[in-house]
């Protein structure tokens, strides 16, 4: 018996009024695969994430998660089915501490639901889980800092921490390293590689070094359409891609 794809996108389209932003995107992502989406600014990468995660309703087409249709479901239900996403612009709970932010992300997997009869502060498992995540994301020494006071790179780490806190099977990361320095990027990539071990990852990235290191396969999105999908080697060798997007000068030296 073969497993269904972790994520199966079929003929997905999205228009805002007359503007077609996503056009007939079809893509299968196998369980455990690390898949990168690249493409120029405004290509529709974030919109694609919004469609998959339930924030936007598709104009046409469907998305299935582990073989179950999820298009049309509200985001919280999709999240409970095991798909979690991060945001390109940090989207955290600014009035809470780092620890409380992550603890919010943990609640759901603790089976706590909307409960109003248990004391969260006394929940040892929730504590342990929260600090495991904080530790993994290099945030445990900032646990009690208000999230709004975090330096930018740490906010990005917190964004990832909240995303992985709920133990999702499928993780969508939207430009997790955007705006980071080289050393911060290296640390973030390390964190992403570890946190997504054995999970399915869909990642939007601009940093070619990151992508060619991390991804099993790459899809190139241009003007809302998938131009090509393949292994890093195939994408690097694809003349159409080089012309449309990468441009010879955009490729890092050692990869060109």
């Amino acid at each position: 018996m073969t497993l269904p794809p972790a994520l199966s996108i079929r003929g997905l389209s999205k228009s805002f009024g007359p503007a077609r932003i996503i056009t007939d995107v079809t893509l299968d992502i196998a369980p455990g695969e690390r898949h990168a989406i690249i493409g120029p600014n405004g290509a529709g990468k974030s919109t694609l994430f919004n469609l998959i995660s339930g924030l936007y309703f598709p104009t046409a087409g469907s998305v299935a998660l582990n073989g179950e249709n999820i298009s049309g479901l509200p985001p919280h239900q999709i999240n409970r089915m095991g798909l979690s996403r991060s945001f390109q612009v940090s989207n955290i709970f600014t009035n809470m501490t780092v620890r409380e932010n992550v603890r919010c992300g943990v609640l759901n997997t603790m089976g706590l639901g909307y409960s109003f009869w248990s004391n969260i502060g006394a929940n040892k498992t929730a504590h342990a889980k929260t600090f495991e995540i904080l530790e993994r994301c290099g945030l445990s020494d900032k646990a009690n800092v208000p999230a709004s006071l975090l330096p930018y790179a740490d906010q990005r780490s917190l964004e990832i921490a909240i995303t992985i806190a709920g133990d999702p099977d499928v993780i969508l990361l939207d430009e997790p390293t955007a705006g980071m320095s080289q050393s911060e990027t290296a640390r973030a990539v390390d964190l992403i590689a570890k946190a997504t071990e054995g999970k399915t990852l869909l990642i939007v990235e601009h940093d070619m070094g990151v992508i060619f290191n991390l991804a099993d396969r790459i899809s190139v999105l241009v003007y809302g359409e998938i131009l090509a999908t393949g292994t890093p080697q195939e994408i690097r060798g694809n003349a159409e891609v080089r012309e449309a997007y990468l441009g010879d000068e955009a490729l890092p030296e050692e990869l060109a």
Partner: protein, 422 residues
Amino acid sequence: MSTQDTFDYSAHVPSNAEKFRQRTLPLLIFAAILVAIPLTGPSRTMYTLMHQMGINIVLAMSYNMLLGRAGLLSFGHAVYFGFGGYFAMHVMNWIADGSGIWGGFPVFLLPVLGFGAGALAGAVIGWPSCRRAGTTFAMISLGVAELVASGAFMFDGFFGGEQGISGDRMNGPQMFGLTLGPISQVYWFIAFWTIVGVAGMYAFTRTPLGKLSEATRDNPQRVQFIGYNPQRVRYMVFIFAGGFAGLAGAMSAVNYEIFTPDAFSLGPSGFILIMAYVGGITYFVGPIFGAILLTYMQSMMSDFTDAWLLYLGVLFISIVMFAPRGLAGIVFGFGAGLRGPRPRAFLITWLTHLAGIALMLIGLIVLVEIAVRWSNGYGEAFAPFGLPLAQSNPLSWLLVLLSALAGGALTRRAARMREAQA
């Protein structure tokens, strides 16, 4: 699980001693104060005032579950107070009849039923209104309040028409040996339920739902992506807020033995909002400060001056503009400043500021009191401390002008001093 066993996170979470000091102890002190108050032999007036304070503390805090903790601005919180109170009044009369199951119900436990009635009203009204936060929610709450208030004057069977419904609390089985007859016995009823209400609402903030309420206030979009429906979070919080308002309603029903449809009108709803906001909505205990001060102002100042609502308005506007963290923010800020690196400089600045505000306040009071008497035209003169300040007396106007100017100068000076210290 291996990392969980080895990593010691105890350094990063509050210790049990800290938890006791910061969480349990203040509540115990609050309870101890309430228990100690009767030892001072309060007068009847004092009792009456304190009972109203207890009711308003629970009510303002229940409102803050919405405004402060869930980011929901409601203009109709008196509705849930009213339903809780009316239901308690009806049950009180059923108890007096002694018929059926109600004959054996103690009046002392009416707040439990008030909670139920308020929560039920919240569940019905919240269903359509909690879909959206922000302006939509605020407008719906206003509409619902108007609707219920006008309904309360129409359906006399339940609401008792303009004279409302009255009853007698001295019926049914007693609890703790309290007949609830003398006012000093009602005190224990009010104190008990004030503590239960405050402790209950505090416990709520510690639950997953309480935390989700804050998360939904801060960022409803992200809440969806950690697996929760913000509408459902709001709805559930709304039901609880209605419940605690209903509890306060039943406290009021037992205390006054009467409820009238006026309880539902926009005035009380606005007063609840002002109590919570003046007290400080970002602090859990903020509304306690607001409830105590405003209840005091309401019952004491209305005896002294016709213009007390005007002073209330000035207080509210000043807090909104100059101290958005409310009285609690001022008090805790004062404490933090004294424990800060330069307590002396801080204290001097603070006292300068206080003097400035006091002077401006004197100017305002003299102006208002003269104006009120002038406009009433009874020929009565404002004479504080035996000093006659008629409108024809140039000294009056000089006093207004000078204290306003001096006060303004002092506050500006305090602001500059604060800037220099920062």
